[in-house]
Amino acid sequence: MSLRIDRMALKSLHEHAKEGYPHEVVGILAGSRDTGHVQQIKALFNEREDSPANRYKVSGLTLMRAEQALESSGMQIVGYYHSHPDHPAQYSDYDRDHALPNMSYVITAVQNGDIVETLSWRLQEDRSCMTAQTIQIED
């Protein structure tokens, strides 16, 4: 299934990635899991202050609280996004090692402060790799 994302949500995601450059930013993709439709994003704080240019982390309780707030407003969690400053939008081994199954992982590449590419990935069931997922932009 492809990932559908509202144009305004994608714009917000890109703005977040540009604002955070040269650090990685992270957030939640919210909408409908059944249809893979992202209607809004929720920016989160990158807790990796020791290495924010190439790492992100959001602790479990912080994530759970943010997800519960979205779910109480009728949203479902479709996946997560993060940026790769001055690096391609390909997933890394580190991304794969830490990925949850059944979630979409959008990676946006930011080069010199500009968005150059945005890709979506899903973890394979055996955790051996992530596979690219087509992104459809909805107006």
Partner: protein, 93 residues
């Protein structure tokens, strides 16, 4: 001891959609072991190849992170609730 384990959304496909699974055991490790014995496809997402809980898998006994208790050796009581709380992490290189 009968214990409930709350399952987060991305792992529910492996528990037939159940949000909570009832298991029995004397420790957190026993309870998780019974969970993965009855739902084997969960195991690879909870544990790495050496059998350790993956770094992004947090387990809470009530409000307490088991890392600050006795980890998987933490004793459980009848009616206790365990919650699997994933964190998210990654990065470019």
């Amino acid at each position: 001891m009968s214990v409930s384990i709350h399952i987060p959304t991305p792992l529910r496909p492996y528990t037939d959609g159940q949000t909570t699974v009832e298991v029995s055991g004397d420790t957190v490790g026993d309870a998780l072991g019974q969970l993965t014995a009855s739902h084997p496809d969960l195991a690879r997402h909870l544990r790495d190849d050496s059998g350790k809980l993956r770094s992004f898998v947090n387990v809470y006994l009530g409000d307490e992170d088991i890392r600050f208790l006795d980890a998987e050796d933490t004793l459980v009581d009848n009616g206790d609730e365990l919650t699997i709380v994933p964190s998210i992490a990654g990065g470019s290189r």
